[in-house]
């Protein structure tokens, strides 16, 4: 597969809890990006991590990258109902997305 694959497919948590979702890929990468999509809306870029970085933070987001395992994880801390969305990873210019992780945060 040429696309990132996210897991789990769906994740349901309570507000305030942390959410962790994972991405695996098969080829070598220059960087990897995480995007969010609210239902029926366009994708919003969240964070980019380069292949020589192991961890990156942005607000409540923490992304890790393990190039030896060809995997990345996105952690959302202290989740809010507004974080309810689908989350995707991508490492290619032509952005061949996987099915994403559907996160539901219950108030």
């Amino acid at each position: 597969s040429q696309q990132g694959e996210e897991d789990p497919q769906a994740l349901s948590i309570q507000e305030g809890e942390n959410a962790t979702m994972n991405c695996s890929y098969k080829t070598s990468i220059n960087n990897l990006q995480w995007y969010r999509q609210n239902s029926g809306r366009g994708l919003v870029h969240l964070i980019l991590i380069r292949s020589n970085e192991r961890e990156k933070h942005s607000g409540r987001l923490r992304v890790t990258l393990d190039t030896s395992k060809k995997s990345s994880s996105l952690l959302i801390t202290a989740s809010r109902a507004a974080d309810t969305a689908s989350y995707f990873c991508s490492h290619r210019g032509d952005m061949r997305f996987g099915a994403g992780t559907r996160l539901t945060v219950k108030p």
């Binding site: 990468i29 220059n30 960087n31 990897l32 990006q33 999509q37 029926g40 809306r41 366009g42 994708l43 919003v44 870029h45 980019l48 995707f88 991508s90 490492h91 290619r92 210019g93 032509d94 952005m95 061949r96 997305f97 996987g98 099915a99 994403g100």
Partner: protein
């Protein structure tokens, strides 16, 4: 903050008709993209465009589709003879550089083919 815009937000057309979906990328961006998302399914790459030509296209982007940058600001997707299965959200995106650079997405055009 600059953003990608798309018009119309919703387009309804009859099967067999031609439609043109319009996008205005961010002004200093050089790479442009179209994606499609059928309801309930994943976002699918259609085509990328740079320097006035297609740089890559997917198997979905057949002869019924074409893209154009008719002037310095617009980027269009034309579907020549729409089919029922073309009903989807169509997203435009742009980036400064290609490769795996950050892409900025528009809000999408919902195309409904009757």
């Amino acid at each position: 903050e600059p953003e990608v815009t798309q018009t119309p937000s919703h387009q309804v057309t009859q099967m067999g008709q031609e439609v043109i979906l319009r996008c205005v990328p961010i002004s200093n961006h050089l790479y442009f993209y179209w994606y499609r998302q059928i309801l309930g399914q994943k976002v699918e790459f259609l085509v990328s465009f740079y320097n006035n030509e297609i740089s890559e296209k997917s198997e979905i982007f057949d002869d019924q589709f074409s893209v154009e940058r008719p002037d310095g600001s617009n980027f269009t997707l034309k579907i020549r003879s729409t089919k029922l299965e073309d009903s989807a959200m169509y997203f435009c995106a742009s980036s400064v550089t290609g490769g795996a650079d950050t892409q900025y997405f528009g809000p999408g055009t919902r195309l409904t083919v009757l």
